[in-house]
Amino acid sequence: MLFGLPLLSLVIWLPIVVGLVVFATGSDRNAQLARLIAIAGSILGFLVAIPLYLQFDSALSTMQFVEHHAWVERFNINYFLGVDGISMPLILLNCFTTPLVVLAGWQVIKERVSQYMGAFLIMSGIVNGVFASLDAVLFYVFWEASLIPMFLIIGIWGGPNRVYAAIKFFLYTLLGSLLMLVAFIYLYQTSGGSFSILDYHQLPLPMEPQILIFIAMLLAFAVKVPMWPVHTWLPDAHVEAPTGGSIILAAILLKMGGYGFLRFSLPIVPDASQYLATMMIVLSLIGVVYIGIVALMQVDMKKLIAYSSVAHMGFVTLGFFLFNAYGLEGAMVQMISHGFISGAMFLCVGVLYDRLHSRQIADYGGVANKMPIFAAFFMLFAMANAGLPGTSGFVGEFMVIMGSVKVSFWYAFLAATTLIFGAAYTLWMYKRVIFGEVANAAVEGLKDVNKREFAILAILAIAVIWLGVYPFPLTEVMHATVDDLLAHVAQSKL
């Protein structure tokens, strides 16, 4: 509770209400007002989320800050919120990213400013709802609702092929989630009329339905993560989305898929998860290795980072299905760290794009001569993306590799190739863009980052290094929950 107000509801509804206020500022004549309200609202959103961390009892593995109200009695649907060590860091990550996204679009977005800013704030609240819901229908409502603002963000402010990308993004995700809805209703029937996720965790299920439920949920979450081979919407969406959209997409929306595995697939159908673990690991490893190679071949910076996201998220799903503490915690750390790093990478590309309106690697070269501060930041994030020790990228990957060694040497071997591929595609791109002689007249005219850009990059840089050097504050809160989850998954539900 914060001043007697329920914290989780505040974290969800404050950004949504502020978002509506931003909408209400109307046309672009009030653009500056819309920006100011948006930044104030998003910072406030982050501030109210901080007590979630401070008042969180990391010794407990049960749900905390629980809110429970009847919502739709007809189907026993409840407004049921709560967080544990898995969802709380993700909420913080989301609240942390939103102000940065608002800042990133500060000068760049000149058309329909109030709608742009409002959409991001509403999105932020909805995503918090996804992470905090403990009722399957409530979860589903937030999950689907998050499609709407993103659809509009890509479609309105996106690049030339934005319509195709926006519709592909929407339909792809919808297909997966509707099957998940069928699984939820099936669970509602078998559990005797409950939509509570916690009830589902305890519900015994025979193997056959378990496998079907696993597959239905897999489609929803795999599309969102995205796992190979259902990742194809992501490069399209990223390339066409405006910078802010790309940041939210990579930093936050992909985490919804990963979170889904932890909250639904593993605890609700543990036997099916164990049974199909090898398949999941193989799919993840294909993602890591094959997508890594694909990333190497990209000529478009945003596409390259998009593919690198897919590869890194492959690490996350790999960690989940190893069923040991290193793997699972590593995957969690990787999710948070990827949130910072991919956000920062997209931001860096955005900084260049705002100046030259090109994302092609070939259009750049020698940027370091003109933008030394920017080059330094970009260097740090590129290194973190490649998994350099001392940055947050290293911690997660290292833990997942440790976890996979315990299961099989070959898993670990293949997973570790990402350290090579990741370094190769990231640093090669970095070299071509930043180093060398000044490539052309356009690059010659580049100006270094302004104060606003510097502030965003600096905040992200601090986060990346802090998490790389001292990840304890993060691992501490998730420790009890992860242990509990592993113990739960180890018990058969047959």
Partner: protein
Amino acid sequence: MNIQPPDLTSAYPEIFLLVMVCVVMLADLVAGEKKRYVAYYLSHFALLGCAFLTFTSFSTETTYTFSGMFVDDVMSDILKLMVYGTVASVLVYSRSYISLRGMYTGEFFSLILFATLGMMVMISASHFLTLYIGLELLSLSLYALVALRRNTVTATEAAMKFFILGALASGFLLYGMSMVYGATGSLHVAAVSEAIKSGVMSHEVLVIGLVFIVAGISFKLSAAPFHMWAPDVYEGSPTAVTLFIGSAPKLAAFGFVMRLLVEGMGEMVDDWQGMLVILAVMSMAIGNIAAIAQTNIKRMLAYSTISHMGFLILGLISADTNGYSSAMFYTFAYVLMTLGTFAIILMLSRDGFEADNINDFKGLSKRNPWYAFITMVMMLSMAGIPPMIGFYAKLSVLQAVLAAGFVWVAIVAVLLSVIGAFYYLRIIKLMYFDAPESDAPIKPSIDVRVLVTVNGLAVIAFGLFPQSLMALSLFAIEQSM
């Protein structure tokens, strides 16, 4: 011989409306060209009066009158109240459209009110012939409404198609009813149900009768494969009439299905369940897939209606209170969404311009962000995206389907909804991602503005808090079945 006069109290709303229709016609005659608004306001008054009578006579008891041919129960009261509200909204939305097209006449209002009377009779019928009379009163008024602009070729063509196919379907229905009469010896809904329960009737004859009845019903619901009239009629009719055909009669059709199939032939559920599954799946498939190819928004919405009717029928196949109330909730949601969508089309149309091409929605968000937002809400709701009411409609129907054990039907239904989502998204795309082609001002009158806003917000509000409407549907079904 002592003849007992029937107790008329439960039929007061119908009687009142009949009187009012005559008053509207006469008043319009007297008021003349300049004072057409007399008929308009009298129609509203008639609906208001009906609502008052239905509301004050509301009770949880089921009463029969006219020798058991007419029933007044909770379901009929609730459906009738919904019909009044829908028809009143139709009148408000249509006013400027019809006055620009020479349809602002006494005939328009009296036909609409006659159709409303037909719907009320359908909803309250407990005898196959009463059902048929109500249905014909509704249908004949609709044929005339479609043909009201007799100078336009498309409208006349649509009316002809509608009339011929409608008459055929009525014939089917009557033929089926005669079979049922032959097998059971009665046309009273309750007596038919009793007779079937006793099990001594020829099952073959009953099934043949049932097939014809289901075919007739599917036509009226515009469910595939009896849907062919819908796209042509939707496209050809004046938009105000399309709005009317697409909204209120679906409420009556729901009542019709409940009386015929559930109350009358509920014992034959094993026979009609299979038929309904086929109808539902075909409607969803044909509706959703064919809608993708449409460039005329009225045609697109016709196909969308067909797929919605498939979903509605899906609610009935579980054949229990849970399923029926889900179907009823779906009907309410559907009517709410249809009203809102057509209201926007009517609003965009001007003198000599129909706004019935999907490209007319281009750049609406720049022309008027609020109406674009409402249209987006309607489209998302139709696609079943939360937090709109359409999501809960689909959720409750899917829940009923799964409870009845038809897992594959549920999976087919959701896969087809993904296809359906595409053409709803296309409208959003046109409104938000494209530049406007026209900058004609959109200036609806204040009543339309208020009603559209309420309509749009209701779709969100019932999406956020669906409990009341769901409980109402459940209450209606539990009390009446």
